[in-house]
């Protein structure tokens, strides 16, 4: 019996990346812009999504894909209550959404009648960073109470994202959050990253985010 070495050099995430690329071209073909929202639990993903729907839904047709590790519908119920289509994905304990889950979820949405799909990833700063899901933009929501050291400890999540929202900015007077220190960490990982400081509660800075997103959706429609 001989043992033989076989050279491979294949990326572990290759299969997932391929499905993600197919998803992106399907969405592009239908002129639907899509964003993937990643954050730790409690950073305000759902609040940002609901506020975004409130501000944009009169001119943009939005659907939401909600990822959770358990069979809960709390978040998707809130979206549906606002009159928007929502698909709930239960990952069955998995700590992230992957491209195949999104591919399946899209079958429940009428892409021809949508302008924007917002995906709310599982609340986690580690795993979602590794799994592309095919969206046109990746967004991280950070929040003041999480502390200013997060870019230094969870480096991967800040790599390869397109927008950063720093949420709960209204809590700055009460929490020792060094904004300079935080932003210095982000700058190393993702130089020049588009960043918005926002509060869902007071709406401070929120219009800047809405204006950015609205421009992306419009430009995307015009391009395709």
């Amino acid at each position: 019996m001989t043992i033989e070495k076989v050279q491979i050099v294949e990326k572990i995430f290759e299969a997932n990346d391929q499905v993600a690329a197919q998803t992106q071209s399907l969405l592009s073909k239908n002129s639907v812009f899509s964003i993937n929202i990643m954050a730790s639990p409690g950073a305000g993903k759902t609040s940002v999504i609901l506020k975004t729907i409130e501000k944009l839904s009169d001119k943009v047709r939005i659907a939401v894909i909600e990822g959770d590790t358990a069979p809960v519908t709390i978040d998707s119920d809130k979206v549906i209550a606002m009159g928007m289509p929502a698909v709930q994905i239960n990952t069955g304990g998995q700590c992230h959404l992957d491209a195949v889950m999104i591919d399946r979820a899209l079958k429940h949405l009428d892409l021809k009648n949508l302008d924007l799909i917002i995906v709310e990833n599982v609340g986690n700063l580690i795993c979602p960073a590794s799994f592309k899901i095919g969206t046109h933009a990746n967004v991280v929501i950070s929040s003041i109470p999480e502390g200013d050291d997060k870019p230094y400890k969870y480096t991967n999540i800040y790599r390869g994202i397109d927008v950063l929202l720093i949420n709960k900015i209204d809590l700055m007077p009460y929490i020792d959050f060094r904004m300079d220190y935080y932003q210095q960490g982000v700058e190393i990982l993702n130089p020049g990253l588009t960043t918005f400081q926002v509060s869902c509660k007071t709406e401070e800075g929120f219009d800047n985010w809405i204006s950015w997103l609205s421009t992306q959706v419009t430009e995307f429609k015009n391009r395709s």
Partner: protein, 114 residues
């Protein structure tokens, strides 16, 4: 935390190549992982023993080749390795840094019996 999904992916890649090569058995796998990739070796091994059962990879050993996380200081051009969280340049304390390597993650090769 995502090692189960990652290990399933390793198995799929190894099986695909083993079948292409008409192997009877896979004995060893060589993974390359940059130190900035959030992968815990022990968890991969733990899942591997479960997932490989009953496959062409049953009983095989995974070898981990770890590549350092290298940072380039844009201020003094010093190159240094990170061992944990992000730190300033140990030479000049600058935070003007660029990641040079450490995000690799692939299956480099397998050893098979024909």
């Amino acid at each position: 935390m995502h090692e189960l999904a990652v290990t399933e992916s390793i198995l799929r890649i190894a099986e695909k190549h083993a079948i292409q090569e008409e192997a009877k058995k896979v004995t060893d796998l060589y993974l390359v992982i940059g130190n900035l990739s959030s992968i815990v070796d022990d968890s991969v091994v733990f899942y591997w023993e479960m997932l490989a059962q009953g496959t062409i990879c049953e009983g095989s050993t995974i070898h981990f080749k770890r590549l350092p996380a290298k940072m380039l200081c844009l201020t003094c051009e010093n190159i240094f390795e990170l061992s944990g969280e992000l730190i300033p340049c140990p030479n000049c304390s600058s935070f003007q840094l660029k990641i040079q390597s450490g995000e690799e993650f692939w299956l480099e090769s397998i050893e098979i019996e024909r």
